[in-house]
C-alpha cells in the first residue's frame, strides 16, 4: 500500500529554485502493479526517491503501508536504474543478495535459502559465485531484482530499471518482473519513460505532467493478466491504450516548462 498526498518537492540550491514535483496525489493499493510514465525531466526519479525515504519532501505526505515516510521504510525495496553501481563489486552475487538479510540479523541458513530461491526466480542459480562485473548488464539487473525479492518487501520500487539494457534483454526482464510480481504478490511501482513498457507491464498507468508535476491521467490497463510479448503487444486493446497514453504525454509535453532534474 502506497499513498502520496499533495506531494511537493522543490530543489533549492545555487540560487535557483527548481520545482521538481508540483502537487502529486495518488495511491497504489496492496498488491497492485502500477507504472508511472511521464516526459523526461518530469520528476519521476524525485518521486521515487521521496517514496523510498531517500529524499525529504518539501511538503505533503507519503505513506508506505500506512506509515508516514521519514527515513527508508522497512519492507520497501528499490531496484535502481544504475545496476552497475547498485551492486557491491567486491561481493559475489550471492553475498550481494544476502547482505540486506544479514543486516536484518537473519540466520545464515535462512539467508542461504532465501538467496538461492531469489536467484532461482530470476534464472541465475548458476551465477551465485560470480562477481557482478563478470556478468552482462541484463544479468546484473537480474541480481539486483533477486536482492530485492530476497528482502521480502511489501512494496517494490523500480526506477527505469531497464533503461540501459538492449531491447531483447529488456523484453526478457519485463516478463521476469511480471512473473516475480505475480509470484510474490508485492505492491509494485515501476517508473519508466517507455510508454510501451508501461502499458505492457502494469495494471494501471499513471501519466505525469511536465514539471511542475501533477497526475495528468490515471489509466486502468484492462489487458488480460497473462501477458506475452508477441500476442499482448499485437492486441488491438494494447495498441489503443498505448495510443491513449502517447497522446496524453504529447499533450502535457507541449507547454514546455522549465527544466528540472529527472
Amino acid at each position: 500500500m502506497l499513498e502520496v498526498k499533495n506531494l511537493h518537492k522543490v530543489y533549492d540550491g545555487h540560487g535557483r529554485r527548481v520545482t521538481a514535483v508540483g502537487d502529486l496525489t495518488f495511491s497504489v493499493p496492496e498488491g497492485q502493479f502500477a507504472c508511472v510514465v511521464g516526459p523526461s525531466g518530469c520528476g519521476k526519479t524525485t518521486l521515487l526517491r521521496v517514496l523510498a525515504g531517500l529524499l525529504p519532501a518539501t511538503s505533503g505526505e507519503v505513506r508506505v503501508q500506512g506509515t508516514p515516510v521519514t527515513a527508508p521504510p522497512p519492507g520497501l525495496a528499490v531496484v535502481f536504474q544504475e545496476y552497475g553501481r547498485s551492486l557491491f563489486p567486491w561481493l559475489r552475487v550471492r553475498e550481494n543478495v544476502e547482505l540486506p538479510l544479514k543486516a536484518q540479523g537473519m540466520a545464515r541458513t535462512e539467508r542461504r535459502d532465501l538467496a538461492a530461491e531469489a536467484l532461482a526466480a530470476v534464472g541465475l542459480s548458476d551465477a551465485d559465485r560470480a562477481y557482478p562485473w563478470q556478468l552482462s548488464g541484463g544479468m546484473q539487473q537480474r541480481v539486483a531484482i533477486a536482492r530485492a525479492i530476497a528482502y521480502q518487501p511489501r512494496v517494490l520500487l523500480m526506477d527505469e530499471p531497464f533503461a540501459a539494457v538492449d531491447a531483447q534483454t529488456r523484453a526478457d526482464l519485463e516478463d521476469l518482473v511480471r512473473s516475480v510480481w505475480q509470484r510474490f504478490g508485492v505492491t509494485l511501482l515501476f517508473v519508466t519513460h517507455d510508454i510501451d513498457e508501461a502499458v505492457y507491464l502494469g495494471q494501471r498507468v499513471i501519466v505525469l505532467s511536465a514539471s511542475p508535476t501533477t497526475v495528468a491521467q490515471d489509466l486502468t490497463i484492462d489487458l488480460p493478466a497473462e501477458r506475452d510479448q508477441l500476442t499482448t503487444r499485437s492486441d488491438a486493446r494494447f495498441t489503443e491504450l498505448r495510443a491513449q497514453v502517447y497522446a496524453r504525454i504529447q499533450k502535457v509535453k507541449a507547454p514546455a516548462a522549465e527544466g528540472a532534474p529527472a
Binding site: 525515504g53 527508508p72 535502481f80 543486516a103 562477481y131 562485473w133
Partner: protein, 255 residues
C-alpha cells in the same frame, strides 16, 4: 608471457651488468667493484648478523608500518565520514603534516630514549600521512547509488563500515599504503642512524666510520633487496585485496 618477463627484468639486468663491468677494474677505495661487494656480502651478512642487526630493524619497520596503516585508515574513515570531525581536525593535521619526520627524532629520543619505541614512533609519524589522506578521499568519493542501496536495505553500522565505507575506499587506501612503504624503509634507516646501538642503519654507518667500504656497500645493497622483497609482498597482498577492482576495470574496457 615470456616477453613480459623479459621486459620486466631487462633493464635491471642491463644496469647490473653495467655496474659489474664498469666497476670491475676499480682501484678507488670508496668505489669498490661490484664483484668485491658481492664477495663481501656473504661473510658480512651471516645468520648471526641477521639476528642481531637485521631482524630488529625489520621488526620495527613492520610494526611501525602496520600501525601507521591502521591509524591512517581509522582516522581517515572517521574524517571522511563526518564533516564536523573533518573541520575540527583539518588545521591540526595540516600543521603536523608540515613536519619532516626526522626532525622529530631528537625530541623523541629525549622523551622515550633510543629504544624501539622512538623509532616506531618516527615511522608511524612519517607513514601515516599518505594513508590518511588517501583514505579520506576514498571514503568521501564512494558511489552515491551504493550509499542509497545501503540506506534502503537497512545496511548500517559495522556492516556498512565493512562492506561499503572501507571496501569502496580500498583502492585509495592501497595507493596510500604503497606510497608509505618506501617512506617506512627510509625512516627506519634514518632513525637508526641518528639514535641506535643496533640495526641496519646503525650497522651501515658503523662500517662507513670504520672504513669498511665494501661492507658498507653490501649493507646498502641489502637495504635495496629488502625494499624489493617488501614491494613484491605488497603486490601479492594487493592482488588478493583488490581482485574485484582490477577485474571490474578490465571488464569495463571490454564492454
Amino acid at each position: 608471457m615470456l616477453w613480459r618477463v623479459l621486459l620486466a627484468v631487462g633493464l635491471p639486468v642491463v644496469l647490473i651488468a653495467a655496474w659489474w663491468f664498469g666497476s670491475s677494474g676499480s682501484e678507488s677505495f670508496y668505489w669498490p667493484s661490484l664483484s668485491t661487494i658481492v664477495d663481501t656480502f656473504g661473510p658480512t651478512w651471516t645468520w648471526d648478523m641477521f639476528q642481531e642487526q637485521v631482524f630488529p630493524s625489520l621488526w620495527r619497520l613492520v610494526v611501525g608500518y602496520l600501525l601507521a596503516v591502521l591509524l591512517g585508515v581509522a582516522l581517515g574513515a572517521l574524517i571522511g565520514t563526518f564533516r564536523s570531525v573533518r573541520s575540527l581536525l583539518e588545521p591540526v593535521l595540516e600543521f603536523l603534516r608540515a613536519f619532516p619526520p626526522p626532525v622529530l627524532v631528537p625530541a623523541a629520543i629525549l622523551i622515550s630514549g633510543i629504544g624501539d619505541r622512538t623509532k616506531i614512533l618516527v615511522i608511524v609519524f612519517g607513514c601515516v600521512w599518505p594513508v590518511l589522506l588517501n583514505t579520506i578521499e576514498g571514503v568521501r568519493g564512494r558511489d552515491e547509488v551504493l550509499s542509497d542501496t545501503c540506506r534502503t536495505y537497512g545496511i548500517t553500522g559495522t556492516l556498512r563500515l565493512r562492506h561499503l565505507v572501507l571496501r569502496a575506499a580500498s583502492p585509495q587506501i592501497i595507493t596510500g599504503a604503497r606510497q608509505a612503504l618506501p617512506l617506512a624503509i627510509i625512516l627506519m634507516v634514518i632513525s637508526e642512524m641518528m639514535a641506535a646501538n643496533e640495526g641496519l642503519g646503525f650497522t651501515v654507518l658503523q662500517f662507513q666510520r670504520g672504513f669498511q667500504i665494501p661492507e658498507m656497500w653490501s649493507g646498502v645493497l641489502l637495504l635495496g633487496l629488502i625494499g624489493i622483497v617488501l614491494s613484491l609482498l605488497f603486490r601479492l597482498a594487493e592482488r588478493s585485496l583488490l581482485g574485484w577492482y582490477h577485474g571490474q576495470r578490465a571488464g569495463q574496457r571490454e564492454w
